[in-house]
């Protein structure tokens, strides 16, 4: 039986090497659900530090497997790895330094999991979502003429927030956040995932997520 540190990316997400992108996304969402900080699925089995690390492992595995080019490269190296060796791109080396404080429950993380866990629940049921602030209109009159990505970027800059801060608050990879701001949606997973991330990003800025999604939908229709 392998230790968790010895698992390759497919084993970490509990998918077959032949899994489709959709299956990988679902497996990743299940990992997020399992290891999220405000839940008890790992209660008494994992410490806070271990839970955090498991979450990070899932993130790293997903980043590679969701990108077809990176996945092909990984598969090639995996085939060349003999059974006794550790898997390529040793996950532990990719992990950021572990935090000493327990992670705060993140409205962004909950937003990302929302559709997967409770598709029909009202937002007001969950205390983390309920704490999202009253929607605030940005003070820019030209805000309504901006595209979605520009709007988010403008609000963020006006608030004095860096992309790193947003990434830390929402647990969304900084690469994805940049792609959202630049509206390179082809670099992102499926459309439902884009909407999840836009929602989480908007909530972290304490702006009306519904309006952001509406704007995104209308722009996509045009």
């Amino acid at each position: 039986m392998k230790k968790v540190e010895e698992l390759n990316y497919y084993e970490l997400l509990n998918v077959e090497p032949s899994a489709t992108t959709e299956e990988i996304e679902k497996a990743y969402l299940l990992s997020l659900a399992t290891f999220r900080p405000d839940w008890f699925a790992t209660y008494s089995v994992l410490s806070e530090a271990e839970r955090e690390k498991s979450l990070q492992r899932a993130e790293v595995a997903f980043e590679v497997l969701r990108d077809p080019a990176r996945r092909r490269k990984y598969d090639k190296v995996l085939r060349q790895t003999s059974p006794g060796q550790l898997p390529p791109g040793l996950v532990e080396k990719s992990l950021p330094p572990s935090k000493t404080e327990a992670a705060e429950p993140s409205a962004g993380l909950w937003g990302r999991l929302r559709l997967y866990l409770s598709p029909k629940d009202e937002q007001k049921d969950h205390p983390v979502v309920a704490e999202a602030a009253t929607p605030v209109r940005p003070s820019l009159s030209e805000g309504y003429a901006l595209s979605v990505g520009q709007y988010l970027r403008t609000v963020r800059i006006n608030r004095g927030l860096s992309l790193e801060t947003i990434a830390a608050n929402t647990r969304i990879n900084i690469i994805y956040l940049r792609a959202l701001e630049e509206e390179h949606y082809d670099q992102l997973p499926s459309e439902s995932y884009v909407r999840l991330m836009l929602t989480a990003y908007a909530k972290s800025l304490k702006i009306d997520a519904h309006r952001v999604i509406e704007s995104y939908d209308s722009r996509r229709r045009d």
Partner: protein
């Protein structure tokens, strides 16, 4: 060196033995046992055995107020278990009702336990369902390991989840202990006991240690663990989160506790269950089309499919090592 010439016994592949346990009390083990029995007995001969030796109440969930014969008659009057198994009046379901004796039943003497285990195996029904008590007593754990399929019933609450993990850890360590004793590799007992006593001791860590010292024993123990595949039911589910919880727990157990746990389904919370209990009506008979009933039926189908597909492996029915007797490892292929 291991002696591979362990005597093997062929058993009837078509007969299945399930055990319903779960660590925490009040999760709905008896409810699940009774209603799975009701559902399956529509097509098959099924016997449900109330093996909750301290506080039996399986008969209540089947709407039976008066019991002619109970496990007490088997244990102390030495009636055969086939005679104690009584018709329930529902389909082809028979019930071995729990013991009337309420003191000390959790600590059954070795020879009574052995007789019970052997006669459970000899019951002629297609499926025998054991309703175990709460906790991690040796009785509970040994019966759970004995079964072809162990079924863990939990509720979507932190205490229940915690007890479930404790139960799985306890059964896994007991399974390894039994195997070590049976195969005469007793030099591994002390490291296993150390693992059990350590707060952070894990089965994976123990297997890694054994792998360094004795690779062939490590392979044997890994094979035994590989064949131990319990199933998980989340009872009293109230929202989608609770269903996802079952999948999450199955993943955690598989990855961190060295046991492949199958999540077979969630049963929705239903106020009518309590109403049926108070009126002594079996739930599936009274509400055959409710959401909970549909969930039970689906779970029953899944359990049958999983059990039939699995190779039957029966470790350590013979507890003779406790009395210094000759050990046997029973295996059916």
């Amino acid at each position: 060196m291991l002696n591979p010439a362990c005597p093997c016994t062929d058993a009837d592949e078509k007969r299945l033995l399930w055990a319903v346990g779960g660590g925490k009390g009040g999760t709905g083990k008896s409810f699940v046992s009774a209603n799975l029995g009701l559902e399956l007995s529509g097509d098959l001969d099924v016997t449900v055995v109330d093996a909750d030796l301290g506080s039996p109440n399986l008969h209540t969930f089947l709407g039976i107020r008066h019991r002619e014969l109970t496990l007490t008659d088997f244990l102390y009057r030495r009636l055969p278990l086939t005679q104690v198994a009584s018709e329930t009046g529902h389909n082809r379901l028979r019930l071995v009702s729990g013991s009337n004796e309420t003191i000390g039943q959790g600590d059954l003497e070795y020879f009574r336990k052995r007789r019970l285990l052997q006669q459970i195996h000899e019951l002629p029904s297609a499926i025998t369902l054991l309703d175990l008590g709460a906790g991690t007593s040796f009785n509970c754990i040994d019966f759970f390991i004995l079964a072809d399929t162990g079924i863990l019933v939990i509720n979507p609450e932190p205490a229940s989840v915690e007890n479930a993990y404790q139960f799985i850890r306890a059964t896994t360590l007991r399974l390894l202990e039994n195997t070590i004793r049976k195969c005469g590799i007793v030099h591994l007992l002390e490291p296993l006991i150390q693992t059990r006593r350590q707060a952070g001791g894990t089965v994976a860590g123990f297997l890694e240690f054994v792998g360094r010292q004795d690779p062939s024993s490590a392979h044997l123990l890994a094979t035994v663990l590989d064949r131990f595949n319990p199933c998980l039911i989340v009872n009293k589910a109230r929202k989608n989160d609770d269903v996802v919880l079952g999948r999450c727990i199955a993943g955690v157990v598989t990855k961190y506790l060295a046991v492949k746990l199958n999540f077979v389904g969630a049963i929705p919370f239903d106020d009518d269950i309590h109403a049926c209990l108070t009126s002594f009506d079996p739930y599936l008979v009274k509400h055959p089309h409710s959401q909970a009933a549909c969930a039970l039926k689906l779970i029953a189908k899944r359990l049958v499919t999983i059990s039939q597909a699995r190779r039957r492996f029966v470790p350590a029915v013979d507890l003779s090592y406790e009395e210094g007797g000759r050990a046997q490892l029973l295996r059916t292929s």
